[in-house]
Symmetry: C5
Subunit: 105 residues, 5 copies
């Protein structure tokens, strides 16, 4: 998996039959220090992520291992919403810290 940031939404009316009603999100690939990269993926959101949230992307056949995506032509899903991550015992990102900032600020 890799860490991404939900940056947008893709709308597509004409799809293969078995893809109707699956939400498609635009996800920017992040480095381990939370910096944006040029990479991105369009992923099916199976956990209900909001814009700006950090998420984990599973790719390939692994993206079909959920009830929503089983046997569908899906090669990427948002499989988790990230609460926080550490590198070398230092917190790089924390969702709750961000939310407290917003409440206080």
């Amino acid at each position: 998996m890799f860490i991404g940031e939900v940056i947008g939404t893709v709308v597509a009316t004409r799809k293969t039959d078995n893809m109707q009603s699956l939400p498609l999100r635009l996800v920017r690939r992040l480095a381990t220090n939370n910096a944006p990269t040029a990479g991105y993926v369009v992923a099916v959101d199976v956990v209900g992520a909001d814009e700006g949230e950090r998420v984990l992307i599973a790719s390939g056949s692994s993206a079909r291992q959920t009830h929503l995506t089983d046997a569908r032509p899906v090669d990427a899903i948002i499989m988790a919403i990230v609460d926080h991550w550490q590198v070398d015992n230092r917190t790089i990102y924390s969702k709750s810290a961000l939310q407290q900032d917003e409440t206080v600020g």
Copy 2:
């Protein structure tokens, strides 16, 4: 999936037996801001996309999860035609806006 632009067609008479009559389209990989990149893929078109349209490409074993491509040596399909997409709540591309422009212009 990634966002692509249909830029051409590939014709191949001699193919593996189970690939006869599947339409092959040349699709250029786009960045999230709609800019072209050097990347491309030859994909089986299962939705009927026109040249110039923005589409979503599914790759790998996921490309075989449709009636047309099941059990065939296909590693990329056009699985949707994009209507529009947003990044940071800004519309980057809208097919209907383009069509109105063409009608007016």
Copy 3:
């Protein structure tokens, strides 16, 4: 799939048991404008391509969806020989045009 040019042959006597007698071809990855790139793949040839021909390469598990390669440790096949392709309605490559040139020239 991607477009490649058959540039050579690989011979390997010692192989896994189920790979005996499958022809292995060296295929250079081409850009959409027919220019060579640094990329290449060693692919099993299931259609009988000649050196210099443009071909389509299918990768991953999709490379096993033929009678010759089913259940074998093959991750790339030549699945088609390209006759011609267009980009923006312009013919980039045409096999028959080349053959006429050779006959005339």
Copy 4:
């Protein structure tokens, strides 16, 4: 597989149902000379690796070939903890040598 270094942990409370309780580790991709690269992966740890350890990462559908990850949307696992590796008959990394250094130092 590739060689990685465990550099951190990712915590995600909201996950697909079948991903609960699987430990997620941040793993930096290493070159063959043990140098860090910009690449990384978030992998499920099925062997119990500690931070700083060198590990092997298996990707794609192969990441689902363990009891813990079978039929789950997992595209990368830590499948082994590296004791040592050699390149051109020279030891590049040895876990036990490091541990002796720590004991002595």
Copy 5:
């Protein structure tokens, strides 16, 4: 597949249960002209390759299509030892030529 050179060995005592006793080799990715690249892979050796030999690497689910690797978390195998290869009808590498040189030299 791609062409690689066996440059070393990786030893890992603690592995997933079903990976015990499979030999792990460090393989450097080569260009078509036999030049080394920065790329590498750790692959299970199912054919018994020696250090310095040129080999073919199969990746992804294709790496599990052998008796040794079936249903194991393996994403790369050495599936053949290369005898020789040609590009544009010129021999780039020949194992037997090297051996004769060694005998004579």
